[in-house]
């Protein structure tokens, strides 16, 4: 399977220093994920879990205080894999929108309020494609019609459009140059349900038509269920669980994932629902051990001191939780007691693995480094 972007043991911190007080916010702390070609990869988690920071790094938008402390982001669009850290600002700028694109959260604030939509499109395309203005306009019109948007919007200013229309125009802007990887930050939040459904539809259509890859960040598990192929659940800057969307909804293994899915109310079901008390920890001083342990209903002693390893619990299903670790260890212990001792290293399924830094830089096996 072709990996479009590989994030390997990424550590992205916000480091600030004011009046001699140094503060480090560990927004993304040791994260390894591989994004496959033509998939819609969902990133879930509450606010303050490092989702947006991950997107910034993925897009190469590294302005201080955001600093990459460790790990790497490798793009693999065509030909040779490229390490993001090795790219200059100019190279990144040339890549943006053309190969690497971004659908931001608040569509009100991203469109220039004093320029008509048509001019914004011209700016975007003109920066990457040398073509006469007439040709660009024609291309924009054709693309909007293709996406089912009225071409009347081209003559409008952003404030004249409704929120849903603005969001769809923003998506059209972000995708008109057929980028290989599209990163969307809460693309449907603050839209009402019918428009949200329209936006989800639009994203799926674009993916099918252009064959590109998408990373969608949202806290709404309903959107993940309807849009994504795989979901990663982040908590306090770390990966808690990752699996195919059907698997993660059918068998969530991590208590945090279970909570995210089960706390949602459903129509036709009025049974009492409670939310887990507390909130994600402040990331300048995260709790030791498993970062979810202060809120976890199943927290054990070990959770407070030791960081759980990421374990493979099924094909494409990884979980970082001591409950799984314990279960495993228990089984291994039982097996060791019952049967002949055999070297654990050969049993790849049962060996907990820590993603090793630098292992994924070889072009051949980014996926292998994670398994």
């Amino acid at each position: 399977m072709h990996i479009v972007a590989n994030i390997n043991d990424l550590r992205a911190y916000y480091i600030t220093e004011a009046y001699g007080v140094r503060r480090t916010v560990k927004a993304v702390d040791g994260l390894s994920i591989a994004i496959r070609q033509n998939e819609i990869y969902g990133i879930a988690g509450e606010s303050g879990c490092g989702k947006s920071t991950l997107l910034k790094v993925l897009l190469g938008m590294l302005t201080p205080p955001l600093t990459i402390v460790g790990g790497s982001v490798t793009y693999n669009f065509e030909g040779e894999p490229v390490d993001m850290a090795s790219l200059s600002q100019a190279e990144l700028r040339a890549m943006r929108w053309k190969e690497l694109s971004y659908v931001p959260q608040g569509s009100m604030h991203v469109l220039n309020p004093v320029r008509r939509i048509r001019d914004t499109f011209r700016d975007f395309i003109g920066a990457h494609v040398r073509a006469p203005r007439r040709e660009i306009d024609e291309r924009v019109r054709a693309y909007l019609v293709e996406l089912g948007l009225p071409d009347k919007v081209l003559g409008s200013f952003p404030h004249q459009l409704s929120g849903g229309m603005r969001q769809r125009v923003t998506i059209a802007l972000a995708t008109i140059l057929s980028p290989r990887l599209i990163v969307a930050d809460e693309p449907t939040t603050a839209l009402d349900v019918v428009v949200q459904r329209g936006v989800i539809q639009l994203l799926q259509e674009i993916r099918e038509r252009a064959g590109n890859t998408m990373v969608v960040v949202t806290h709404d598990m309903g959107v993940h269920a309807n849009l994504t192929d795989r979901v990663a659940v982040l908590y306090a800057g770390q990966l808690m669980e990752e699996a195919d969307t059907p698997t993660i909804f059918a068998q969530p293994r991590h208590p945090y994932t279970q909570h995210l899915i089960r706390s949602l109310p459903k129509i036709d079901d009025r049974s009492e629902r409670v939310s887990i008390p507390g909130r994600p920890p402040a990331l300048d001083n995260p709790p030791g051990g498993c970062r979810f342990h202060p809120r976890c209903p199943y927290a054990m002693e070990v959770c407070k001191t030791e960081v759980p390893l990421i374990e493979q619990v099924g094909p494409n299903h990884r979980v970082a939780c001591w409950l799984i670790n314990e279960e495993r260890m228990g089984r291994i212990a039982a097996r060791l007691a019952n049967a002949e001792p055999r070297p654990l290293a050969t049993d790849t399924q049962l060996t907990p693995q820590r993603p090793s830094p630098g292992g994924a830089r070889s072009a051949g096996g980014p996926e292998g480094a994670i398994r």
Partner: protein
């Protein structure tokens, strides 16, 4: 229900905004002929749902007295609200009806300690004296699962969105109101925090007898919390009735589309059909017939010509020609057979 029994009563309430474009002016009906009531003896949570631009917020602002209705009547506890004097509005009405806003971080100044808002509200409205104010505020905070100790001395940036929104509810409660008007109180919050807010509305209704008008576009929490649901579309209330009826078995095609558009947290229930979105929103407001006709999968000839009336097919109100017994069933069948047409038969009974 007579006016005296109702806590809040809206009668054919409308609000028209005039939009000026150069020399031409056009009328824009944000809320169109809305009639609904909340009983005084039976506290309830009334959810007002609908897409953005359906007039939900204008309706809320009229109930709060911030926008003057263009037509119709608005009675609160039997008094005509448009005729209240400024003094009565301040010392009586604002005490009885309290607002909760969408963004708690915008509602509170970041430079002031949060508890100052609670103290000011309680003291200014005279619901507590200097001696009792601490206990009064603590009690209000307890009803939303917080305590004065937790928030004392804190600034807004030190609290999470969920805590802030609960503090906003507690602030509203310090005046001992009988009605809360909450305009999108959870849309800025994470899905997992929403339940805490919605649960506190349920507790308020049960323990303190406070009615809540819960304006939202989140249908799942509306169904979970509300006793009745009003569905708004382009200024109209197109369906109004008990939550189980309106969302359990929606009659109006718009409610049906709304319900099916809620993303279920279950990948096995992905949408298979596509939804039509409004292309020209302003046109829908000024449509002569039904405002949903251009998007409705069951639209008939009559829909684009005549505005539907409020029908009561089975104990709930529906504004749709499909349930009009005067329109022949054959026409409806041609338009689309999928809508349950049984309620038409029961119209005579109700």
């Amino acid at each position: 229900m007579t006016t005296s029994e109702a806590l809040l009563k809206l009668e054919q309430l409308s609000r028209v905004f005039t939009v000026r474009r150069g020399l031409a002016t056009s009328r824009f009906v944000a809320v169109d002929d809305v009639t609904l009531a909340i009983a005084a003896d039976r506290p309830e949570i009334l959810a007002v749902v609908g897409e953005s631009g359906s007039g939900k917020t204008t309706l809320a602002r009229m109930i709060l007295g911030q926008v003057v209705p263009s037509a119709g009547h608005l009675h609160f506890k039997g008094r005509d609200m448009t005729r209240l004097s400024a003094r009565e509005r301040r010392i009586w009405f604002m005490k009885e009806v309290q607002p909760i806003f969408q963004d708690p971080f915008a509602a509170f100044s970041p430079l002031k300690k949060i508890e100052s808002y609670l103290y000011e509200t309680a003291l200014n409205f005279g619901t507590a004296t200097r001696a009792t104010v601490d206990a009064h505020i603590d009690q209000a905070l307890h009803t939303v699962g917080l305590s004065l100790k937790e928030i004392k001395g804190r600034y807004p940036n030190e609290l999470s969105g969920g805590q802030m929104q609960r503090t906003a509810i507690a602030r509203a409660l310090t005046t001992n109101p009988s009605l809360l008007v909450a305009d999108e109180p959870v849309s800025m919050l994470d899905a997992s925090l929403r339940m805490a807010i919605v649960n506190s509305f349920r507790d308020l209704k049960q323990q303190q007898g406070v009615s809540v008008i819960y304006i939202t576009h989140d249908l799942a929490t509306a169904y979970y919390a509300a006793d009745r649901i009003a569905v708004m579309l382009r200024g109209w209330v197109v369906e109004l009735g008990p939550a189980e009826q309106v969302l359990g078995n929606p009659l109006h095609p718009y409610t049906q589309i709304l319900k099916s558009s809620v993303p279920e947290p279950d990948p096995r229930m992905r949408w298979t059909e596509k939804v039509a979105l409004a292309r020209q929103e302003l046109d829908e407001f000024s449509a002569t017939g039904c405002k949903f006709a251009t998007r409705c999968p069951f639209a008939m000839d009559v829909c684009s010509r005549v505005a539907p009336t409020n029908l009561v097919p089975d104990g709930r109100m529906v504004k749709c020609h499909l349930y009009d017994p005067a329109i022949p069933a054959a026409q409806k069948h041609r338009a689309g057979g999928a809508i349950p047409l049984t309620p038409v038969a029961s119209t005579k009974a109700s």
